[in-house]
């Protein structure tokens, strides 16, 4: 790690730039969230396909399978992303009166996450004015063991063929789910949580939600200007990162370590 440009008394060394970035993100996010004019957002095909997938299932009279991963570390980022997407999917399913099956389990952490998931789905049905359609049996808990859960998940898909399968943030079992869904003729939308799985799942799914898109998925699908702001901020930050990288490459090539020291500050 390069030496820092300067230090501020009372602050840990090498964390100033990180703090600056986080404050910048918060300020930008709050600014765009309070603006009334909806920001320009690029289209994300995989997220647009979610409504299409649910619509397809409705027309076919088949259920939608949605899973948020095995939550191996309880409420970590990946699980939270899955739950935020589930909240939207559950509402659309409730609106269309489509059966939504949310297989749960797969790890010890999943025991903790499950009650929140049940509450999320129940709330979605209530908000759509159809609480009577909520059935806790549609949120089966298969097992606290990863591959016993996969066995249960695949079995459920084979007994009750889905019209669409939306699976987020799974571990190695993601491929089992995607391929079985494919074999069952379901429309598959997969949201992998790592780069390795992104490449593998691209070959097995109809649509792929990239990790960064999944994080903003719920905001994108809600179509509310204040929610779309978070995606706008992500895009701005990415452009900033690209600019910083280009400047860094030029600086490093010309023998200066200024950018390296700046980001290490």
């Amino acid at each position: 790690m390069a030496s820092v440009l300067f230090e501020i008394p009372g602050m840990h060394s090498g964390r100033l730039f990180g703090l600056f970035l986080e404050v910048l993100i918060v300020v930008l996010a709050l600014y765009y969230m309070t603006r009334e004019k909806p920001p320009y957002i690029r289209r994300v095909a995989a997220l647009d396909a979610i409504e299409e997938a649910i619509g397809r299932s409705t027309e076919m009279g088949k259920p939608v399978f949605f899973s948020y991963g095995i939550a191996s570390r309880g409420f970590d980022l990946r699980t939270l992303i899955g739950i935020s997407l589930l909240s939207h999917v559950a509402r659309v399913c409730a609106r269309n009166e489509t059966q939504l099956i949310v297989p749960t389990g797969g790890s010890e952490g999943s025991y903790i996450v499950r009650p929140t998931v049940e509450e999320t789905v129940k709330t979605a049905y209530t908000l759509e004015g159809k609480p009577e359609l909520f059935d806790p049996d549609n949120i089966p808990f298969f097992s606290g063991q990863q591959y016993a859960y996969v066995g249960g998940y695949i079995g459920a898909m084979q007994r009750n063929p889905p019209g669409a399968v939306i699976a987020c943030s799974h571990a190695s079992e993601h491929m089992n789910i995607a391929e079985t869904a494919n074999a069952m003729g379901a429309l598959t939308i997969m949201a992998p949580s790592s780069t390795g799985k992104t490449a593998v799942l691209a070959t097995a799914s109809d649509y792929l939600i990239f990790p960064e898109e999944a994080g903003a998925g719920a905001a994108y699908l809600s179509k509310e200007p204040s929610e779309l702001a978070s995606i706008r901020v992500q895009d701005i930050l990415k452009w900033m990162a690209i600019a910083l990288m280009i400047i860094g490459v030029i600086a490093a090539t010309s023998g200066s370590d200024l950018i390296n020291r700046l980001v290490s500050t």
Partner: protein, 212 residues
């Protein structure tokens, strides 16, 4: 009292306070807050342990409801509970004991391994489907995939030595740059998701919906 803690504003306040207690000492050198932050993380781990007990209780309640209603697959719920009780008992006896070892090494591990092995067939099947040059992009994927696959295969280096540097270039340059781009996007997405959670715009993780 429980209703008080079930309120969205109360839960959000706790989330924000907890965030500040953990966030501030990461950047600023405040020994007292740092010690409190570490203690809070330990408390959170302990609470997590207790929530596991609550979760097992909720599983018992769910399975008994299923049994009472005789809903579809109710007997599997009972089966799962029996296994759960069995594993708890074996765990209490000791993880070095014979019953625990038998369940882990003669039942769970072989069954899990069988399921894991199926992945190889799934991967081959999906790769075969994807490896069709129907467009320029697909052709490039096919070419890159074939080179990397050949590189991974034994004896390739001896028969086609030219493949090694190309495959290494693809994996060390293209693959690394793409994965870093994805990590960058994921990092920004997670911070923005955090802002939405702290401002109460994303409350599904608390079991609420936005309109509530």
């Amino acid at each position: 009292m429980s209703m008080f803690f079930k309120r969205k504003d109360i839960q959000l306040t706790i989330v924000v306070l907890t965030f500040l207690v953990v966030f501030i000492p990461y950047f600023f050198n405040i020994p007292a807050l740092d010690a409190f932050s570490k203690k809070l993380i330990t408390i959170a781990s302990l609470v997590n342990g207790f929530t596991l007990a609550l979760a097992i209780h909720s599983q018992f309640r769910r399975a008994s409801n299923q049994w009472r209603r005789k809903s579809r697959g109710y007997y599997w719920g009972a089966y799962m509970l029996i296994c759960l009780i069995m594993m708890i008992l074996f765990g209490i006896i000791g993880q070095e004991s014979a019953p625990w070892h038998w369940v882990m090494f003669a039942v769970i591990n072989p069954l899990s391994s069988v399921n894991y092995c199926i992945l190889a067939f799934y991967l081959s099947g999906s790769a075969a489907r994807a490896f069709r040059a129907r467009s320029i992009q697909a052709f490039m994927l096919l070419a890159a995939g074939s080179i990397v696959l050949l590189y991974q295969a034994p004896l390739t280096g001896a028969v086609f030595p030219v493949i090694d540097p190309i495959a290494l270039y693809l994996t060390n340059t293209f693959a690394v740059s793409v994965s870093r781009t994805i990590y960058l996007g994921l990092a920004t997405a997670s911070i923005v998701l955090g802002v939405r959670m702290l401002t109460g715009r994303e409350v599904s993780f608390l079991g609420f919906a936005r309109e509530e």
